[in-house]
């Protein structure tokens, strides 16, 4: 299977290594396996694979990760525009 990729350099994922203790929770929950632990710190392998589900930031006990969670669904975004709501997000 070829790897799927959407647009580059768009994710709101931000990570502060100073707060990281290397507990590995982010690596466990990420459905696209973009985190890995190296030298007692989490590292990001490929930011462009992030789909902003929010699992990592939610499960980081040290608040080292932040992301604006939401769904990458054009219909959902269109409908919330039409209904005058903010884009589907849980920010």
């Amino acid at each position: 299977m070829r790897e799927h990729r959407h647009l580059k350099n768009v994710t709101t994922l931000a990570y502060d290594p100073d707060k990281c203790t290397g507990c590995g929770m982010c690596a466990e929950v990420c459905p696209h396996a973009i985190f890995f632990i190296e030298g007692k710190k989490a590292r990001i392998s490929d930011r462009d694979l992030c789909m902003e589900c929010g699992a990592c930031s939610k499960n980081c006990p040290f608040a080292a990760i932040s992301v604006r969670p939401g769904v990458g669904c054009a219909w959902g975004i269109l409908l919330s525009e039409i209904k005058g709501r903010e884009a589907p997000s849980c920010g």
Partner: protein, 387 residues
């Protein structure tokens, strides 16, 4: 409670944590929270409870022991739910259930109360003794509910407390499906219940191996997939709506043709039928092989190739003083339709982010709208000319 403020209203993907994991946003109203759930929130399907084998006495009361084999009734229910009949009432009563003959040391698996989620979990547990803790996710699958926060820290804490789980098991470990992670703060659950949260595999089919390996998931078990088969299944949903519109348009043209306006013909319809199939079926199926990244672009590209083919096939190209107008209509409308439908497949995909789709739409929507509007104006000229 730091998590309550982030558990807002949003449109999560529709996913199942079962064997056929398809994290996706089918954008069904019930998934994305566009319709109110009031009035039917308490209707569960387990009035008949044919999937309960017996009740086992525990120190915290009688716990239903569920069958691990799906009955014909379960499968019929699954098919009905897939087609949308009574989907939102297809729920299991939240609480604690047992599989096999579990004891104080048996693992606790947490699930959603959408019956399909519950079924896809229990059928994978043959030969195991385990507890299943069902959260009240309002009849929604794990990933979708995790996005909404109903599969979340609050509900998990409440359910652990309500079922007196700490009296039933001697260990302090909860196994959650990994796709529940966007809704649950594991450290928060531990702080409040003293239960440790371990995220299990994405797919229920991997649970036995996961448990046998001492609750260790392989990297493979942790990753969400989006293979050809998953994409194929989802195209059915993508095609339903556009085909409805095509049927309506055909019906209108047919009525007009009865009135003497001969606009309905295979030649006028098949280009649009093709554009719908390209956007709703071929782009999803060929997704990783079509050059470019934006879904709308992929749809537009194939739509343009299709329009060129149609124009040559109908002898509209090379253009003549008469044929350039209908040819232009095809070049403007067909790629716009394909691009629009292809863009919609972002919700079914398992790898697009909100930021990515917003960026794509910022470019694609104005272009599609402009192309379609000008195309409709040209179409009007062509039709007036044909009368």
């Amino acid at each position: 409670m730091p998590d309550t403020k982030t558990e807002g209203d949003r449109n999560p993907r529709l996913a199942e944590e079962g064997r056929d994991t398809r994290p996706s946003c089918e954008c069904s109203p019930e998934c994305c929270g566009w319709t109110s759930d009031k009035g039917r929130a308490e209707s569960y399907i387990n009035e008949s409870e044919h999937w309960i084998e017996r009740r086992a006495e525990t120190s915290a009361g009688a716990i239903p022991v569920v069958r691990i084999k799906l009955s014909r009734q379960d499968i019929l229910g699954k098919v009905k739910a897939r087609f949308g009949f009574g989907r939102m009432r297809y729920r299991v009563k939240p609480g604690l259930y047992a599989v096999g003959d579990p004891g104080a040391g048996s693992p606790v698996l947490v699930s959603a109360n959408y019956k399909l989620s519950f079924d896809s979990l229990r059928r994978e547990l043959g030969g195991l003794d385990a507890w299943i803790l069902v959260l009240d996710t309002k009849g929604i699958n794990v990933w979708c509910a995790a996005g909404k926060g109903t599969f979340g820290t609050e509900e998990l804490v409440r359910r652990v407390d309500e079922t007196s789980l700490a009296r039933i098991v001697s260990h302090r470990t909860l196994i959650l499906p990994q796709l529940g992670a966007p809704g649950v703060a594991a450290h928060e659950v531990t702080r409040r219940t003293h239960f440790k949260v371990i995220y299990g595999p994405v797919r229920a089919a991997d649970i036995k191996v996961f448990l046998a390996a001492g609750m260790k998931a392989t990297p493979e078990m942790r990753r969400v997939k989006f293979g050809l088969r998953e994409r194929f299944v989802l195209t059915a949903i993508e095609l339903t709506n556009p085909f409805k519109y095509l049927v309506i348009v055909t019906a209108v043209l047919w009525i007009l043709s009865l009135l003497g306006l001969r606009l309905l013909s295979w030649g006028t319809l098949y280009p649009y039928l093709g554009a719908i199939l390209i956007g709703g079926f071929f782009v999803p199926a060929l997704l990783p092989w079509i050059p470019g990244r934006a879904f709308a672009w992929k749809g537009w590209l194939l739509g343009m190739i299709w329009a060129a083919f149609v124009n040559f096939h109908q002898g509209l190209l090379p253009p003549t003083p008469i044929s350039w107008q209908p040819a232009t209509v095809h070049f403007l409308l067909l790629p716009a339709i394909s691009a629009f439908l292809a863009m919609g497949f972002t919700g079914s995909s398992t790898y697009t982010s909100l930021s990515g789709v917003l960026k794509e739409m910022r470019y694609a929507v104005p272009v599609i709208l402009a192309s379609a509007s000008i195309g409709v104006v040209f179409l009007a000229f062509v039709l007036i000319g044909a009368l």
